[in-house]
Symmetry: C2
Subunit: 246 residues, 2 copies
């Protein structure tokens, strides 16, 4: 028995998120089915990040246990031939038997892409959020700086979070402008349910002048759940990378 | 009667190109149907660039004649509500009655996107061409410089071109590297059938070391059709912009 780790990329448009559900197609389910068929044993993957419906990934991480003699490095390439085009395993390799991607420290990096122009561009609309009023990236950068560090993000997660603590550390939160796109890149030691989308929604509010940047530290300092923070749509969000210390 | 101009963006993945055909769905056909229904008269658009199956656009141009009293500026926004998500009119405005987008001078700009990494990324695969061996952008830049200027591009178009002359001017041809993407941007006074895809295919061959940059001027100087030039796939190509002097 060995434990194999997968780096998985997907276009989340046609899936009800990562986690297997009884009544909807999910990434986890497709991976379980394809791996089970290919390896001829019952495979159940454990995902690092249970991304929401419509969210994309370039580097989500999953592990599974297998009895196979096939070299772990070859499993990814072989299984890609049986996967739909919108899920592609980037790499596969062996990891220690006790490695659990949700139970060890990691740095996760997400990207949120905003298309800031009057009308949508079909080629970009699958993974960008169209904001048709002019955004001010400098205001957004000022607001972003307040999120960096260790904070209680209780007002930046959906109320049905299962997390015990709502304290998280954000290592960096960068705003880049590339032509008519604004790209938010955020790295942290973990993110609460909908946290990145709520940070992105807040940055959009600031960029449109609907909120002052100085409001962010006030919300972060509040010990109660009082603020109604806007949540940006799922399709703009991509899980870029998860770094572990194995 | 007035002539209205449309700037049209589309994701070409699900279409058999621009030009109306009897047995396949095309961009032109969808525009004709939606405009005819909305304006309640028979509309036939004239497109500036008859893009191939699978090619995308951010700014293709089309004109049509109409008797409507609806202000031309409002037609685009209204018709967008009746169009599928993968076709979006960016702007609509009145032009002189004799303006014909294929019969006047223009500068066209195309972008060809290459994803240069070992495995494909589903979120990017609709509008990038995956080249999994390492490309050398400096070699590609050297090769690109030979294309700029007025040349006979007879070896850089498909043999069933309808053009009388195969001489064209390329004003600029730039190679940009952004992380694992290589973006080719080319502007010219016109492009022959498959010309951009054949230039992109040649630049890939040079970038992989399969062809020397100095081979380009030799091919361009040849007065016969002798060379078999690789054609990069349609999905990496986007028509970015057409500038007219109206």
């Amino acid at each position: 028995m060995k434990r194999v780790c997968l780096i998985v990329a997907y276009d989340g448009t046609n899936y009800h998120g990562w986690q297997a559900q009884s009544n909807a197609i999910t990434i986890e389910q497709i991976l379980n089915e394809s791996l089970s068929k290919f390896l001829n044993e019952d495979i159940e993957v454990i995902g690092a990040s249970r991304t929401d419906a419509g969210v994309h990934a370039e580097g989500n991480v999953a592990v599974f246990d297998t009895k196979t003699n096939i070299p772990p490095e070859k499993i990814g390439i072989a299984v890609n031939r049986t996967l739909p085009d919108d899920i592609v395993i980037q790499e596969s390799f062996e990891v220690p038997k006790d490695f659990h991607p949700r139970k060890c420290d990691s740095v996760k990096t997400y990207e949120y892409r905003i298309l800031n122009r009057r009308t949508d561009l079909p080629v970009k609309s699958r993974n960008t959020y169209l904001v048709y009023k002019k955004l001010d990236p400098d205001r957004m950068r000022e607001a972003a700086s307040y999120f960096v560090g260790q904070h209680d993000f209780r007002n930046f997660c959906s109320s049905h979070t299962q997390a015990k603590s709502t304290v998280r550390i954000i290592y960096s939160l960068d705003i880049e402008k590339e032509n008519d796109e604004i790209i938010i890149t955020v790295s942290g030691n973990g993110f609460l349910y909908n946290m990145v989308r709520m940070i992105a929604g807040t940055l959009v509010d600031v960029g449109l002048g609907r909120m002052e940047p100085e409001k962010i530290p006030q919300i972060l300092a509040t010990r109660e759940r009082v603020f109604n923070v806007n949540k940006a749509p799922a399709k703009g969000l991509t899980l870029k990378e998860i770094e572990f210390e194995i």
